[in-house]
């Protein structure tokens, strides 16, 4: 692999955004994702290569470490932030069609629940894996999810909940979507959610952690 791609991947894993960024302390003064991505593009490396050989492996590494409890939420947030910085430089190429994304993933925290940290974290991990992500925010009603699914045919939907009380809302929303769009693919996640609950409410899959979702999504498209 090209050395610069390796470096970008490491910066993403460590959450090193740019040269000025104080985090992580041990990379102080070094170039971050921002500078290195621009440099890679100037060197003529394709956006596809940057995406698949730098961004994706970087995010994958941090996703695996998070699942294994070797890193925690702050590290993943910083990695995601670094990744977003790279995406800013790559976005024009996505739009021009030079890079094809794997598909569209729609995500939102269910009605009655205003928690967004977990949902945003998942959304960034999926984006970093090469998906178009449509984040509907928090406290999202069934109709809003249905509308988004109708607008983006073939998109996969992710529902998030942090509170035990909003699991009921997740069930109601899943059933409402199912009634309207029977073949919708619905994935559920969040602290109180488990596989048993997923089966009961008729969702297609449960993801225990962001990396688990990424793996599920890739298994569905490929």
């Amino acid at each position: 692999m090209k050395e610069i791609l390796q470096k970008i991947s490491e910066c993403i894993e460590m959450g090193k955004i740019n040269r000025e960024a104080p985090f992580p302390v041990e990379m102080k003064g070094q170039d971050g994702v921002d500078e290195l991505t621009q440099q890679a593009l100037m060197e003529g490396i394709s956006t596809q290569e940057i995406l698949s050989q730098a961004l994706m492996p970087g995010m994958e590494n941090v996703g695996i470490k998070f699942r294994e409890n070797k890193v925690f939420v702050p590290q993943v947030l910083m990695s995601a932030k670094a990744m977003s910085k790279a995406l800013v430089h790559l976005k024009p190429y996505f739009l021009s069609g030079q890079v094809t994304q794997k598909g569209t993933f729609i995500i939102g925290t269910v009605e009655g629940d205003f928690h967004d940290i977990g949902k945003s974290l998942v959304s960034m991990m999926v984006e970093g894996n090469g998906w178009e992500v449509i984040d509907l925010g928090t406290n999202v009603k069934a109709e809003t999810f249905i509308e988004a699914l109708k607008k983006h045919q073939n998109a996969i939907l992710g529902l998030s909940a942090l509170l035990t009380t909003t699991m009921m809302s997740m069930e109601r929303i899943t059933k409402a979507i199912r009634a309207e769009i029977p073949d919708a693919i619905i994935v559920v996640g969040g602290a109180p959610v488990n596989q048993d609950f997923c089966d009961r409410i008729g969702a297609n899959a449960y993801a225990a952690d962001p990396q688990g979702l990424v793996e599920y999504l890739n298994s569905v498209v490929r």
Binding site: N69, V71, F72, V73, P74, E111, I117, L163, T164, P192
Partner: protein, 296 residues
């Protein structure tokens, strides 16, 4: 020394109250409704929760103000009512508490410092605004709870310490990692929390919520390894919720939770109450267990 810590220093074991959020839901709070708004719209129901715990034998009750900071209240369009809602929260618990203590509940803001989502000054101001309301309403102590980030917890402690005359308590929330260690979702271990929280000015520290009573034993052991003297407060949830037929159940019964009291006292806990899913019956049983152990 504040009154609560003074009692602990005299060797007393105190019982705190149980859940508020799940209790409010039983009384009809709907998902998506602002719990703190009930301090104005349903004062009887809120006071009744505090009274239920006092009748169950609690030495202290919390206030209905967990999400009473401007960042959370803004989501309900109530960002301009921080002081009023918190003052009312403390007044309602005060009314029920009589000569028992009132702990002004302060939860996390949901904002993240490390990503630059919010500044330290903004967090400090938000907590300051909230604790001033709680003190004005008659809180004896400020209980900063369910914290996962050390920096946010320290800022909240400082805001309470520097702006009120209340005692300041702080409990963080820990889960168990794949390798069996206790960590908050932000990666903080019970041992790592001890000195920073005390240095920021906490009079009592501990843990709340989490995955049930049993884990609290290991958490207290870790805290005690780092500091043998600091008073320790525990408010565990009644286990991990189970979802059945459209409702959530917390599996740990009052008897199951109370059975672990002697062990928790042995490892060094000073105040025991409950979090999500615990009821006045749980608190009653904790008190009974304390009597059995002759620790009043």
């Amino acid at each position: 020394m504040g009154k609560i810590v003074e009692q602990i220093k005299q060797g007393k074991i105190l019982v705190s109250d149980g859940a508020w959020g799940t209790f409010l839901q039983q009384k009809g709070l709907k998902p998506g409704e602002c719990p703190e708004e009930w301090n104005l719209s349903h004062p009887c129901d809120v006071t009744d929760i505090a009274a239920s715990y006092i009748s169950a034998g609690a030495d202290m009750v919390k206030t209905n103000s967990f999400g009473g900071n401007r960042f959370r209240l803004e989501k309900y369009g109530l960002g301009h009512k921080v002081f009023q809602l918190n003052k009312r929260a403390a007044e309602l618990s005060r009314k029920a508490a009589g000569d028992k203590f009132v702990l002004g509940s302060v939860g996390p803001t949901g904002k993240i410092l490390i990503t630059g989502d919010v500044s330290e000054e903004e967090l400090y101001e938000a907590f300051k605004e909230q604790v001033l309301g709680l003190e004005a309403g008659g809180a004896d102590a400020i209980l900063i709870e369910t914290m996962t980030d050390l920096d946010e917890a320290q800022i909240a402690i400082r805001a309470a310490r520097e702006n009120t005359r209340c005692e300041v308590f702080c409990t963080m929330t820990f889960g168990k990692t794949a390798t069996g260690e206790f960590r908050s979702i932000m990666g903080v271990s019970p041992e790592e929390m001890v000195n920073p929280l005390i240095e920021a000015g906490a009079d009592m520290i501990g843990a709340n919520c989490g995955n049930g009573m049993f884990s609290m034993i290991g958490i207290v052991e870790e805290i005690r390894k780092a500091n043998p003297d600091i008073p320790v407060l525990l408010n565990p949830s009644a286990g991990i919720p189970v979802y059945r037929d459209g409702e959530t159940f917390f599996p740990e019964t009052p008897e199951e939770m109370a059975r672990l009291v002697p062990e928790l006292l042995r490892v060094g806990a000073n105040v025991i109450g409950g979090c999500c899913g615990t009821t006045p019956e749980h608190i009653w049983m904790l008190g009974e267990e304390r009597l059995k152990n002759n620790l009043v």
